[in-house]
């Protein structure tokens, strides 16, 4: 059964780039929710500053993660044939759009940079990440995207 797994196009030394980088924005956006919650409860400005940095780093990393993911998506018809690939890609595009909004909200000064709009956006983003993450794992662990065929058999 040669070549039966969908290929990853953006890869270095045979290792797909997208899964290497994707933990960065995920950790940043989850971290934003945590620091937003702490700021909401303490009103200690350090936590709001932390949220703003996490959002910025998450968004910058998303550029590379998104590009690698898009190349994989466009690079192999078999990837595009997977329903989880669409949910994963579009869901994460929404994550990025909402996080750009969230970064603007977090650029306000003091309390309303987080409460309530920023906190709500951070929460929605993490909920979407649960869905897109689940579908991303399905692509790899169920459909073997980017996994070498001989390793699977």
């Amino acid at each position: 059964m040669p070549n039966d797994t969908p290929r990853s196009t953006a890869r270095i030394g045979g290792h797909p780039i997208h899964p290497m980088l994707v933990p960065i924005p995920i950790a940043c956006f989850v971290g934003t929710l945590v620091t937003d919650l702490v700021y909401w409860k303490t009103a200690a400005i350090m936590w709001a500053d932390m949220s703003a940095w996490l959002l910025t780093v998450g968004l910058v990393a998303s550029i590379f993660v998104g590009l690698a993911g898009l190349i994989d998506f466009l690079g192999d018809r078999r990837v595009r044939a997977l329903r989880p690939a669409w949910i994963h890609g579009l869901g994460n595009a929404l994550v990025v759009v909402l996080s750009i909004f969230n970064a603007f909200v977090h650029s306000r000064d003091a309390y309303t940079s987080v409460v309530p709009t920023g906190l709500i956006l951070s929460t929605i983003v993490v909920l979407i990440l649960l869905v897109t993450g689940w579908n991303g794992w399905a692509m790899v662990y169920r459909h073997g995207v980017g996994v070498r065929a001989e390793d699977r058999s």
Partner: protein
């Protein structure tokens, strides 16, 4: 795939909403916000506040425009960020060449803000010193010489007897002065520390003295727009300090004044006045900057509220107990004009229409799509209170809507009764006199 299409649509419409939300409300006519009872619109919190910073273009031989009956000339040009002027009793003019200390970057927004600040200010490195200009009897000025060097963001200056005081951004310093002296090499002594770095958001410390010379008054601006650097950073800030001249001990004379400058005693009633920069990012017409008499023990709202009991939702925890005590200021100057200098008109050289009131230097807005300020106005006073609307006295700092030659900051009346204007973008000190007079 319907859910996916829905997702796409949501993303597209959200992006569109983002673009339209950036605009915010249209600016109103600034005249509705001048006087004791300004119109205050609803709060608008932006996703991205409008930034409108006109491009700096040198004067190149041009001068500001003055009202009829007046004339203007450059007293000194080619300076390094002149921001405040002070006149000694013998007529010598002092000019503080100064700039703020380097601002730390505590969050991503401050990268952007620092870039905008750079656009709005002269690229000349501030001198951090005070220059002296000797005035001739005919209104002609000598070349500037160094009066005091190696200061730390100096702004306020006042002479009491033979003691010359400079308000650096982090301390009030005292230097011995003899009439006619043209330079001070004595290192001076520190009378008191003032709230300075490492953040030092509003760094200009205005300074004046009581008429009996026992007390100094220093304007100490807030350390943020609206507490975004945390409340501990605001300790003893957004206030006017009263400093004992012999001991250096201080108390907070008045509080809740976001960025008080131009401290001056009104000459007929001997009441302390200041111009105050109010908060940003609540819309193009909030919050109006103002001039006010500064009442002993009064609280003027910052950060919790503005114009009395109008609450600012950005401050947490809120303090209803303080808001209840907040008093409104005397006279609004309209929003984001950035008044940084004020002087009561004592000069007999100016036409009668410009006597007894106050000149205000409006540095000009950066966060309002329609620019506001960028001029010197005159507000007539009767019985120690503003009476009548501000008149444009010196304009022409702006060319059209996108070019700026200069920005007025500190003001003073000179020995010959002329009005002096420090222009920190044009790097010039201007002198306004009655037309045809020296």
């Amino acid at each position: 795939m319907n859910a996916l299409r829905l997702g796409l649509c949501a993303a597209a419409s959200l992006s569109l909403a983002a673009l339209t939300a950036c605009g915010g409300p249209k600016p109103i006519d600034p005249h509705r916000q001048i006087g004791p009872n300004p119109y205050l619109p609803d709060i608008h919190q932006y996703l991205m506040p409008p930034m409108h910073v006109p491009k700096i273009t040198p004067w190149g031989g041009a001068t500001p425009t003055v009202a009829p009956g007046l004339q203007i000339q450059a007293l000194a040009s080619g300076l390094k960020n002149p921001r405040s002027v002070y006149v000694l009793p013998n007529g010598d003019v002092l000019v503080a060449e100064t700039g703020g200390p380097k601002a730390p970057i505590n969050r991503p927004k401050e990268f952007i803000m620092n870039l905008i600040e750079k656009q709005a200010h002269s690229s000349t490195k501030p001198g951090n010193r005070i220059l002296l200009i000797r005035m001739g009897p005919d209104g002609h000025a000598g070349a500037p010489t160094v009066f005091i060097d190696h200061l730390h963001s100096p702004f306020g200056m006042v002479l009491v007897g033979n003691d010359f005081y400079v308000a650096d951004t982090d301390a009030v310093r005292r230097f011995p002065y003899q009439t006619g002296q043209t330079s001070i090499t004595d290192p001076g002594v520190k009378l008191t520390d003032l709230p300075g770095g490492p953040i030092d958001h509003h760094w200009t410390k205005s300074l004046t003295a009581s008429s009996d010379g026992t007390k100094l008054y220093a304007g100490v601006g807030s350390n943020s727009n609206i507490t975004e650097n945390g409340m501990p950073a605001e300790y003893e800030r957004a206030s006017v300090w009263e400093i004992d001249r012999t001991t250096g001990a201080h108390r907070l004379y008045a509080t809740g004044l976001r960025n008080p400058n131009g401290l001056q005693f009104e000459p007929t009633t001997h009441v302390l006045w200041a111009v105050v920069n109010e908060r940003d990012e609540l819309g193009p017409d909030l919050v109006p900057d103002y001039m006010t008499s500064v009442k002993d023990g009064a609280f003027y709202g910052w950060p919790y509220s503005y114009y009395g009991q109008h609450i600012d939702p950005r401050v947490m925890p809120q303090r209803p107990d303080l808001v209840a005590k907040a008093i409104p200021p005397d006279y609004a100057l309209s929003s984001h004009v950035a008044p940084l200098g004020m002087v009561f008109s004592t000069g007999a050289n100016l036409p009668a229409a410009y006597r007894g009131g106050a000149f205000v230097g409006e540095h000009g807005s950066w966060d309002r799509s329609a620019l506001n300020g960028y001029k010197v106005v005159y507000i007539p006073f009767t019985d120690g209170q503003p009476s009548g609307t501000p008149q444009d006295v010196v304009t022409g700092f702006l060319v059209g809507d996108n070019k700026v030659h200069g920005r007025p900051v500190g003001l003073a009346m000179d020995g010959g009764g002329g009005l002096l204007i420090a222009d920190d973008v044009g790097n010039t000190v201007w002198r306004v006199t009655a037309a045809g007079k020296p």
